[in-house]
């Protein structure tokens, strides 16, 4: 059994050595398709993670243009704290807000040099209790606060969140559609590449059939070849996406997401690299199955 498997593997490797250009084309196609898929996944997963963290921190901010006496502000905070939906109310002074902003800028903190804390308003940050953390509760609390003339400048980002969620949904749908399209394109190209190699080896297939090779015996080396090319393509896609992630994505995506408070951009989650390689193998196997479906029937009627 093992000897037989080794025989088919040897023949598949030999086929690949004999048609290096076609093999490279198959591997390259799978690699590019899966690498693009991986880029999309990196972007979507990072943005998704970001919105998840925002979801956890659903909060209402009451900006205070004129900061009253500390005692009064504490009274306000106490009043709001009596709402059953509210977990905590924190007063953030102008100075604290400015410090926070400086920290968030990190290396670019020198941008605010020369500016004083007066540029930012003080605020009351209201966070919701765990059980009440939803958009509808947020709206109810905001409506209740609006009725109180003391709090007229409220920010809670509900509309923005909705838009972000819609954007994420669009990103996920278009990512899946593009991914599906890319995988399908890779499948077709791999199938056609293998078909080309089959045409080039028609004499060999005929000879195999004439000396009594069963359909499986004739097909197996090509199936192994397809799967091997796919696995190598998956591996190349992983390497390529990691390289692009290190050199380009991490910086560009990082600066895009900086303003949102995310400081680390993550590569694919641990299970993804394995999936990418196995997925490549699967594409290669399926591609060669398509190519062989009609071909071997013709050679061995």
């Amino acid at each position: 059994m093992i000897l037989r498997a080794a025989y088919f593997l040897k023949r598949a490797l030999r086929n690949m050595r004999q048609s290096p250009v076609l093999s490279m084309a198959s591997i390259g196609t799978v690699a590019v398709a899966l690498a693009l898929l991986a880029f999309f996944a990196i972007a979507v997963l990072n943005v998704q993670q970001l919105t998840a963290s925002w979801g956890e921190n659903l909060a209402i901010v009451v900006y205070l243009d004129d900061v009253p006496d500390e005692k009064i502000v504490k009274g306000w905070a106490k009043d709001i704290g009596t709402y059953p939906e509210v977990a905590s109310v924190t007063f953030v002074s102008r100075k604290e807000a400015f410090e926070r902003f400086r920290k968030r800028l990190g290396d670019d903190a020198d941008l605010v040099e020369g500016l004083g804390p007066d540029v930012l308003p003080a605020s009351l940050e209201i966070s919701l209790a765990d059980d009440w953390r939803s958009e509808s509760v947020l709206t109810t609390v905001v409506e209740r606060l609006r009725k109180d003339h003391r709090f007229d400048d409220l920010q809670y980002g509900q509309g923005w969140l909705e838009k972000l969620e819609a954007f994420l949904f669009l990103l996920r749908v278009s990512g899946s559609a593009l991914g599906g399209f890319l995988v399908f394109a890779a499948l077709v190209i791999v199938a056609n590449t293998i078909k080309l190699t089959l045409y080039a080896r028609q004499d060999e297939l005929e000879a195999m059939a004439m000396v009594g090779g069963t359909s499986l015996f004739i097909k197996l080396p090509y199936l192994v070849e397809g799967a091997l090319q796919g696995l190598l393509g998956g591996l190349a896609a992983l390497g390529l996406s990691f390289l692009v992630f290190q050199l380009i994505l991490q910086k560009s995506l990082g600066s895009m997401l900086l303003i949102t408070g995310i400081d680390t951009i993550h590569f694919l989650p641990p299970i993804w690299p394995g999936l990418l390689i196995i997925g490549g193998g699967f594409i290669g196997l399926l591609g060669s199955l398509f190519a062989l479906r009609k071909f071997v029937r013709f050679v061995a009627p």
Binding site: Q18, M208, V211, G212, T214, P301
Partner: protein, 239 residues
């Protein structure tokens, strides 16, 4: 060994490639299949190794009706056949050794068994010194000898040869015929398609002549073959 009953083969063009062929070939016989181009010689051979299916009629090989064979059984029938073509059909990217070893690999034989058998067979066709050569490094005659070795390496019950000497010069043709004769002497039934009258005169055997897809004549050999075939084996296609 081989029996054909009212076999017809029609292609989609409408014309019949074979018309109502009834024929019997005994075990160990050597039969020439002759006739002009397009007479149906190759079609008849293709029916015997199941590359084509008859439109009508039955074919029995070794008392089994091969017209009923499905795709899964055909390979096992072919493992008992040796098939030789005019254009050799060797694997150009494989060495002489690998070409001859191929049918044994297909049958899943052990490696030491394969190497022993391949060497013996190549020695019998006089090519044991060409083991590592590729087909395109050999002459036409040598390539056909490799093809014969590939066909004989499995000790086939039946050897089907489609114009095997068509591309060869007379001297090499004689070499190939000697190989066929010795295989036949060892008990292999041989059906050889040819239109080389000189060859038939030099090696007289039973002649089955086809013309426009019909059985024209089925003549017994003027001289007995080396294996002493019987004169009762031939059947004409006429009722």
């Amino acid at each position: 060994m081989i029996q054909l009953f009212n076999v017809c083969k029609a292609y989609q063009r409408g014309e019949n490639a074979l018309n109502d062929i009834t024929l019997k070939v005994e075990k160990g016989e050597f039969v020439y299949l002759t006739g002009p181009s397009g007479a149906g010689k190759s079609t008849l051979l293709k029916l015997l190794y199941c590359a084509e299916r008859p439109t009508r009629g039955q074919i029995l090989v070794n008392a089994r009706n091969i017209t009923r064979y499905g795709p899964a059984r055909i390979p096992y029938l072919r493992r008992n056949l040796g098939i030789i073509f005019q254009d050799f059909k060797l694997l150009k990217r494989r060495t002489v050794y690998e070409n001859v070893a191929f049918p044994l690999e297909v049958q899943g034989r052990k490696r030491y068994e394969i190497s022993k058998k391949v060497y013996q067979t190549l020695k019998s066709v006089g090519l044991e010194h060409r083991l590592k050569h590729y087909p395109l490094q050999l002459s036409g005659g040598e390539q056909q000898r490799v093809a014969v070795a590939r066909a004989l390496v499995v000790d086939p019950l039946i050897l089907l040869a489609d114009e095997p000497t068509g591309n060869l010069d007379p001297e090499v043709t004689l070499d190939i015929m000697e190989l066929f004769k010795s295989a036949n002497a060892r008990g292999t039934t041989i059906i050889m398609a040819t239109h080389d009258r000189n060859l038939i005169r030099q090696f007289p055997r039973r002649i089955v002549a086809l013309d426009a897809g019909s059985l024209a004549t089925d003549d017994l050999p003027l001289f007995r073959g080396t294996n002493g075939i019987s004169g009762q084996t031939g059947m004409t296609g006429q009722p």
